[in-house]
C-alpha cells in the first residue's frame, strides 16, 4: 500500500516517531492531489484548459478590464493579403518568416474583422455557457436521480417519468423554444436554459448508482443509527457517486458546447453582435474552400476545450476514489 512507499527516514514526526514507526500519514487532501498530479492526461488537460482560459481572458480582456490585444472583435477593417493569418511559428532559418504574431495572427474574415479577437470572444462565451450548463445540469440531474433512487416508490415513478418526458422532447427544439421565449437575455440565461434540458442522462446514471448504493450495508447501518434520509443521501450516498458526477460534468460540458453551436447555427443561441465558437463556425460555414482558417481556428479551440475537460474529469475521478491505492506512473 502507498503508506509503505514513503521511506522510513523521510518524515519521522508526531506520535508515529514516538512509536518508532517513522512513517508519516498523508492526509486525504494530499493523497487526492498526489494521485491527480500523477495522472499525466489530467495534468496535460489542466495545462491545456488553463492556457486557453488565460489566453481568452487576457487577450481581449473581460468586461471593463482591458486586454493586451489592441483590436476589437466587432470592428471591421481593411482586408490585408486576402485575410490570411499572419501568425508564424516557423523560425527564419528553417525557411519561415520568423516567430511573430503579425497584424492579424488568425487572419481576417470577409468584412475585415480581426479573427483572433473574434475567436477569443467566442471562446470566452462558449466557456461561460459550457460551465453554467455543466453545473446546472449536474445539479438538477443529481438531485432528481438521488431522490428517485433513494426513496423509490411513487416519487421514483414520478421523477423518472418526468425524466422520460424530458428525453422525448427534442432537446434542440425545446431549448430553442425556451431561448426564444426568454428572448435575448444574454449568455447566462442561455446557459441556464440549456442546463435545464440536458440533466436527463445524469439523473438516470445517478439513480442507477443510488439504487445499488442504498442497498449497501453501510447505508442500512447509517439508517440503524437513526440518520435522516437527507443526511444519508448527502453524506453517505452522493460521496460514493463522485466518480459518476464528475464524468457527468465533463460530458455535460462537451454536450453544451455542441448544443450551443447547434442552437447558434439555427440562429437561436448567442445573438449577434456577440458571438461564440459555434456561432463563428456557423457564420463562416461557406468559407471552407476560400478561407479555411475561418474554420479551423474555432474548431481547434472547441476540440482543445472538450479534450482538456474530459482529461481533467478522468484524473479527478481517479484521484477522489479513496479505495484506489494504485498511483499512476
Amino acid at each position: 500500500m502507498r503508506r509503505t512507499r514513503t521511506k522510513p527516514a523521510q518524515a519521522p514526526s508526531g506520535t508515529d516517531a514516538v512509536q518508532g514507526m517513522g512513517v508519516r500519514t498523508r492526509t486525504q487532501g494530499e493523497l487526492v492531489f498526489r494521485r491527480f498530479v500523477r495522472h499525466k492526461g489530467a495534468v496535460a488537460g489542466m495545462i491545456g484548459l488553463g492556457a486557453i482560459v488565460l489566453l481568452a481572458v487576457t487577450s481581449i480582456g473581460a468586461g471593463p478590464i482591458p486586454g493586451w490585444w489592441p483590436k476589437d472583435f466587432s470592428s471591421t477593417g481593411t482586408i490585408v493579403d486576402s485575410g490570411k493569418p499572419t501568425l508564424s511559428l516557423l523560425p527564419g532559418f528553417l525557411g519561415g518568416s520568423g516567430m511573430q504574431m503579425g497584424e492579424h495572427p488568425f487572419g481576417q474574415d470577409n468584412v475585415g474583422r480581426d479573427y483572433f479577437a473574434l475567436t477569443m470572444r467566442g471562446t470566452q462565451v462558449s466557456l461561460v455557457i459550457a460551465f453554467i450548463v455543466g453545473i446546472v445540469s449536474t445539479f438538477v440531474g443529481t438531485l432528481i436521480g438521488a431522490v428517485a433512487g433513494y426513496f423509490r416508490g411513487k416519487s421514483e415513478a414520478a421523477l423518472m417519468r418526468l425524466t422520460d418526458l424530458v428525453i422525448t422532447i427534442p432537446t434542440l427544439l425545446f431549448a430553442g423554444l425556451v431561448a426564444v421565449m426568454a428572448g435575448d437575455r444574454g449568455i447566462v440565461v442561455l446557459g441556464l436554459v440549456l442546463g435545464l434540458v440536458t440533466w436527463t442522462p445524469t439523473a438516470r446514471l445517478i439513480r442507477g448508482e443510488v439504487l445499488s448504493i442504498r442497498e449497501k450495508e453501510f447505508v442500512i447501518a447509517a439508517r440503524s443509527f437513526g440518520t435522516s434520509a437527507r443526511r444519508i443521501i448527502v453524506k453517505h450516498i452522493l460521496p460514493n457517486t463522485v466518480g459518476i458526477i464528475i464524468v457527468s460534468v465533463t460530458l455535460a460540458i462537451a454536450t453544451a458546447i455542441i448544443l450551443e453551436s447547434a442552437l447558434s447555427f439555427l440562429g437561436l443561441g448567442v445573438q449577434p453582435p456577440d458571438t461564440s465558437l459555434g456561432r463563428i463556425i456557423h457564420d463562416y460555414q461557406n468559407a471552407l474552400t476560400v478561407r479555411p482558417w475561418l474554420f479551423y481556428w474555432p474548431g481547434f479551440f472547441i476540440i482543445g476545450i472538450v479534450l482538456s475537460v474530459n482529461f481533467i474529469g478522468d484524473g479527478l475521478r481517479d484521484a477522489f476514489d479513496p479505495r484506489q491505492n494504485r498511483v499512476r506512473d
Binding site: 503508506r3 509503505t4 486525504q28 453501510f218 442500512i220 447501518a221 447509517a222 443509527f225 443526511r231 460514493n240
Partner: protein, 368 residues
C-alpha cells in the same frame, strides 16, 4: 503494516471479561416481542419468514438467538429496528418499554434507532462508509440524536474509540475505513453502537466475518461495553459456542418459530426440543476418537412458502411419530426446568434419557 495490527500495548491487555464478571440483569423488561409475524410476498407465493415469535429481554441481559440460515432470526431483529424492506408485512407487537414500535410513526422510530436501540452488523468490511472518515461517521451517530456541536461529537467519538481499544484514537478519527483491519472496524462499529448509551444492542452475527482470535476479543469487548452503558444485548448467531460463552438465556429458532427458550445452562445440558439436541449432538468433541464421524442432523428445513402442517422439524426428527407430529404444530410450552419452554410433543421422552443427543447418534449411524 502498522495500522493493521490489533492493539498490543501492555495497558490494554486484560484478563478477559466473562459473563460471570458482568453486572447481573435486572427484572425490568425493556423489550417484549409478542406474536411477531413477518411475511414477504414473492412471485412464488408468500414467504412466512417469521411465524409467531414471543420473547422478552430484561435490562442488562444477554439473550442469544440461535438458528440456521433462514430460520428468521435476522428478519425478526430487523423488524425491531424497522429496517425491513417496504414489501414486508409485519404483524404482532414489539414493545420497547411499553411503547409498540410497530405502531410508531417512522419519525419517532427513527429517533429511537441508534439512540435507545443500536445495532452491530455482521460484516464490518461493508457496514462503514468507505468515503467518510471514522470520526465523521461516529460524530454523525451523535449528531443525529443530540443537539451538540461537531467538536463535542468528535470528542465523544474519541472517547468511544478509546473505550473499545483503538490505539491513538485522536489520530484515528481522521482515518478512513480501509485503513483499519476487520477486527478494528468491528470495534468501530461497537463504538458507534454504544456512542449514545443505548438500552439495547442488537448484534447480528457480530463475529461471523472475523477470525477466531479476533472473535474472542470482540466478544469480550462487547461484554465490557455492555456494563459501561448498562445495555442489554440481543445476540444473533449460529455459533453455539458464542452463546454458551456470553448469553444468559438462549432462544432457539427453527423455520420461523421459536422452538426452545431458557437459561443457557439448562438448554445446553437438558435440551427438550430434538432440534436443539441434534445441534448439540452435531458439535465435534475434543475427546473424539480418530475415526469418529461428525453427526449432522439429516435433511433440510422446510420451505417457508408452503409450511407443512404439524411440527416443521418432524421430517428430520428421530422422535417423530405419525400422529401428533404430522398433524399439529406444537406450541411453546413449559417443560421440566424453571423458565424453560420447548415446542415438542415428546419432550418428556428426551427428559427420560441422560444424554438426549444419543437419539441423533443412532440416527446418523443408521444412515451410514
Amino acid at each position: 503494516m502498522s495500522t493493521n495490527t490489533e492493539p498490543a500495548n501492555g495497558s490494554r491487555v486484560h484478563a478477559g471479561k466473562t459473563l460471570a464478571d458482568s453486572l447481573p440483569p435486572s427484572d425490568e423488561e425493556i423489550l417484549r416481542v409478542e406474536d411477531l409475524t413477518v411475511e414477504f410476498p414473492t412471485d412464488d407465493g408468500i414467504v412466512h419468514a417469521v411465524r409467531g415469535v414471543d420473547y422478552s429481554v430484561r435490562e442488562r441481559e444477554v439473550l442469544g438467538i440461535v438458528g440456521e440460515s433462514g430460520s428468521g432470526k435476522s428478519v425478526s431483529s430487523m423488524a425491531i429496528m424497522g429496517l425491513l424492506p417496504g414489501n414486508a408485512r409485519v404483524h404482532g407487537s414489539i414493545r420497547y418499554r411499553g411503547t409498540d414500535l410497530l405502531r410508531m410513526r417512522e419519525k419517532e422510530h427513527r429517533s429511537l434507532r441508534g439512540d435507545k436501540i443500536a445495532m452491530i452488523f455482521q460484516d464490518p468490511m461493508t457496514s462503514l462508509n468507505p468515503v467518510q472518515t471514522i470520526g465523521d461517521q461516529l460524530a454523525e451517530a451523535v449528531l443525529s440524536h443530540h443537539l451538540v456541536s461537531r467538536k463535542q461529537a468528535l470528542a465523544r467519538a474519541k472517547e468511544m474509540l478509546d473505550l473499545v481499544g483503538i490505539p491513538r484514537p485522536e489520530a484515528r478519527l481522521k482515518s478512513y475505513p480501509h485503513e483499519f483491519s476487520g477486527g478494528m472496524r468491528q470495534r468501530v462499529m461497537i463504538a458507534m453502537a454504544i456512542i449514545n448509551d443505548p438500552d439495547l444492542i442488537i448484534a447480528d452475527e457480530p463475529t461471523t466475518a472475523l477470525d477466531v482470535t479476533v472473535q474472542a476479543q470482540i466478544l469480550e469487548k462487547l461484554l465490557e461495553v455492555k456494563d459501561e452503558v448498562n445495555a442489554a444485548i440481543l445476540m444473533i448467531t449460529h455459533d453455539l459456542g458464542v452463546i454458551a460463552g456470553m448469553a444468559h438465556r438462549v432462544l432457539v429458532m427453527y423455520a420461523g418459530r421459536p422452538v426452545e427458550i431458557g437459561n443457557v445452562d439448562v438448554v445446553f445440558n437438558q435440551p427438550r426440543m430434538p432440534y436443539m439436541a441434534g445441534l448439540l449432538g452435531s458439535l465435534p468433541h475434543l475427546d473424539a476418537t480418530e475415526h469418529e464421524r461428525l453427526r449432522p442432523i439429516v435433511g433440510t428445513p422446510p420451505s417457508l412458502i408452503n409450511v407443512p402442517p404439524g411440527c416443521p422439524f418432524s421430517p428430520r426428527c428421530p422422535l417423530a411419530d405419525d400422529s401428533a407430529c404430522v398433524t399439529t404444530e406444537p406450541e411453546l410450552a413449559p417443560v421440566d426446568a424453571d423458565e424453560h419452554y420447548a415446542a415438542c410433543h415428546h419432550w418428556s421422552r428426551l427428559a427420560q434419557v441422560d444424554d438426549p443427543t444419543a437419539y441423533f447418534r443412532a440416527e446418523s449411524e443408521r444412515s451410514r
